[in-house]
């Protein structure tokens, strides 16, 4: 697989010079064609070889950004917030008398989902590894979050980006989302976080309201969709991952069942027959639960959520000034490009089929003199970003028109 030659400095420089879509990235961040503060006051941070980290860079336009990226040739670069003044002039802005402050004002609402957070539930790979099979978890996370942000929060400018290795990022560019304070970001994260508690905590889903002795609290309606999606993928997931096949696996499952009698019955049975596959075990559990009341049924729902609900890296989303790797960067270990992902076809996405930087450069070579990304397999991905940008620009124009109309009305 990828070795260091794959992402050598020469290769990276070629990639930035010939392939990286600076223009599209600029327009996406700037939300307009003519440069404005959304781009010019934006922080860029560069990671150079030997872990040198350069923060608070900013640029007037796409060309300047490209020039600097090519000059520094970073292994990757990250995007931060738009500040109240240019990040390069932050010292001046911070000095008391200027009357300006240096604070982050706007920033896409971002999310980071990483496969390592699923190590307790996936059985195919561990830590850095990822395969088509683990991707089922990511795909479900995309479906659930995408829908929650659209239907509940009313956001529509969502860009999903493969993180280059074992996870996925989301960038939300709606006007309201851009302006959310840290406090509001925390609220979004709170509303979307279901899996809580560390390794030592068996039951990680505690989302129900107050219940009574016989009746558990209701599942909040905002999680109904996630529950349904989880149920939909449940049997295929069990067949694929066999979460309850190993003794560890089924014991973990039984820890989540509140009814002691059921636990004892199944424990006895499964100890004697180690080979029962996961879906069969689940059916047996369901059969035991049947008719024993709402509490046990609720526990089943919670179990499905615990194994399927998106696991967010909350810290990334909570702060406006958190830096996140730019789309189309190259993952230094895999050489794969961080390409956009279509949420509607996310189950078909194969992380191992994502073009590597070497592959792209070869395609470029073959295409001959004067070729650019359009002549490589990067094209569909840049096109996807460009289509996304059209949506954002439309939004901006609509807002602008509404504002003018409002002003007109007022003047009148």
């Amino acid at each position: 697989m990828a070795d260091s030659a794959e992402t050598s400095p020469e290769v990276m420089l070629q990639f930035y010079r010939m392939l990286y879509p600076f223009k599209s990235i600029f327009t996406w961040l700037n939300q307009e064609h003519a440069p404005k503060d959304l781009f010019t006051n934006r922080e860029f941070a560069f990671t150079l070889k030997e872990d040198v980290y350069l923060r608070y860079n900013c640029f007037s336009n796409a060309e300047e950004l490209k020039k600097q990226v090519c000059a520094l040739n970073p292994t990757r670069f990250e995007i931060g917030p738009m500040y109240s003044s240019r990040p390069s002039e932050r010292k001046l802005a911070r000095s008391v008398k200027s009357g300006k402050l240096f604070t982050p004002l706007k920033r896409e609402l971002v999310f980071d989902i990483d496969m390592t957070d699923y190590d307790g539930v996936r059985t195919c790979c561990t830590s850095a590894g990822i395969c088509k099979r683990c991707w089922a978890f990511i795909a479900n996370a995309v479906r659930v979050l995408d829908s929650a942000l659209r239907t509940q929060f009313g956001y529509h400018q969502l860009l999903w980006v493969y993180s280059g290795r074992r996870g996925i990022h989301l960038w939300v560019s709606d006007d309201e989302a851009m302006g959310l304070t840290d406090e509001l970001r925390r609220a979004v994260v709170g509303a979307l976080t279901v899996i809580e508690g560390g390794k030592e905590m068996a039951k990680k889903v505690n989302v129900r309201g107050m219940g009574t002795k016989s009746h558990p609290g209701d599942l909040p309606p905002s999680l109904w969709h996630a529950r349904d999606e989880g149920s939909r993928m449940w049997y295929p997931l069990l067949d694929d991952q066999e979460c309850f096949l190993s003794e560890d696996g089924w014991r973990t499952l039984l820890k989540l069942v509140p009814d002691k009698k059921i636990v004892e019955t199944l424990e006895k049975r499964w100890e004697k027959q180690p080979g029962i596959e996961s879906s069969k075990k689940w059916n047996e559990l369901k059969a035991e639960v049947k008719g024993t009341g709402a509490r046990n049924l609720a526990a089943l729902e919670d179990i499905i959520l615990q194994y399927t609900y998106p696991r967010l890296d909350a810290e990334v989303s909570k702060h406006r000034n958190h830096l996140l790797k730019a789309p189309f960067c190259v993952h230094p270990k895999t050489g794969r490009v961080c390409v956009p992902v279509d949420p509607n076809r996310v189950e078909n996405f194969d992380p191992n089929a994502v073009p590597t930087v070497m592959q792209l450069l070869q395609e470029l070579d073959k295409a001959g003199e004067g070729a650019n990304w359009e002549h490589t397999s990067l094209k569909p991905y840049v096109d996807m970003l460009d289509r996304h940008i059209v949506g954002i620009l439309d939004d901006v124009r609509r807002r602008e028109r509404a504002r003018v109309v409002l002003q007109h009305d007022l003047n009148w």
């Binding site: 300006k100 009313g154 979004v188 309606p221």
Partner: protein, 485 residues
Amino acid sequence: MYNNSDRRKFDPVKFDSSKSANSFEWPFRLNFYDKSPWYEVSLEDFERYALDRLRVLAEIESSFARNRSWEELKSVTTRQCKDHLPLNSSSASTVDTQTERRNDHLGHFVLRLAFCRSEDLRRRFVKAETALFRVRYESDDTKERELFLQSRDFKWTEVNSEEKLQYASELKGLGIQQTEEGVPTTERLYKVRWTQVPDLVNKRRVLLKDGWAYVPSKEQLSIVLRAFEANLENALDSTARSIMRMDGDTRLTEILNHMSRGFVAGVASEYSGPATGDEIRADMVDDLAKRHFPLCMRNLHECLMRDRHLKHFGRLQYGLFLKVLGLSIDEAIAFWRKSFSNLTDDKFNKEYKYNIRHSFGLEGKRANYPAKSCQQILLTDKPGPSDCHGCPYRHFAPDNLQTSLLATYSSQGLTSTDLAEVMRTVKEGHYHVACTRVFEITHAAAGVKKGDGIGEGESVTHPNQYAAKSIEIEKAQQGDAMVIE
């Protein structure tokens, strides 16, 4: 202290006298403080109303630090407001409500100037002000409150029954709306942008559709408080910007600095003692110290007994404390003379006697110096390595503090199990709250309970207040129920 009564204008606040005559300027008791108070004020008023308010806010802060329940906080705050910050409903016909409201408004604005200057102060100020607003909101005249709510645009719309029906099952799932045979109940439901109720969204307590939150009327307060908070945050932001450009008016800056410090240590009432009503003689001090002094004074006393000497700031802190406690000038001279037993009479008379008389206002400027409050002790004249003054809760290393607490107070009931709580409070920077807790623990035998503080839930803000209360409790216990002012 600040007795300057020049009449002058303050640039960032822009006071203007022309409107103050309008008696309907403050139609409601509740106020979002959108407008600057446009009238001229004296520097005296400027400081006075702000300090009154600060006292209330500082107590709210320490209520948070002491983990009081909302009900407790409410009753403590209500009591404090009655003394320092009265604000009556319009129906209170015997009171000049307009003046009360004007002062309330003014105090709030001055404190904005004092608290806009750092992120931390802003956050704490917003939190305390919002709590104060909530206390008033909950105690407000229902009719007046309704009118107040109508007077502002909270950007909510009432949800009609059609929509209620559409989302019936989800609303039921949240337990906020029941339908009876398909007809929604009459409970009101408000629709607001979700950003207006982040807390409710965070806890999944509202229905969220397309960025709109459906809020049941029992959570209406959340919307109002959030609006108050957001309003104040914005205001502090712009105040911060404008104050940066304010010329260095040292007089004003001094007052403002003084106030923002008030949050760190609470705001002390002036202590003009003698708090016990009895004269205290020099030979009583040692005994009183062991039974009634707060840790700072215990420490000074022990240093003095051990070293037979105290350095300048130590003498000042302890000397003024003893004066206010009730030591007369003659007794004070006797006390210090005896304590400095290594000195010759000549040296004592030359170098120390004058200073003692000076601190009693008998020499030099003849000013009657007040004893230092916790705030002053906590924040001024930071002790050096060989000094004994300061506040042990703040200035001792954690290990030393624990040892010293046990050594000093275990005879009064403090055990090592109490330390964890005290040290946690110290770690959070609430030194006087830790001191208050120690007071409670060491007076538990006399019936003082957790949360009682030094009476009516108040926190320690002055060492003399600590000692006076301790003596008072002892007297009451001895059946000599003498009431102390």
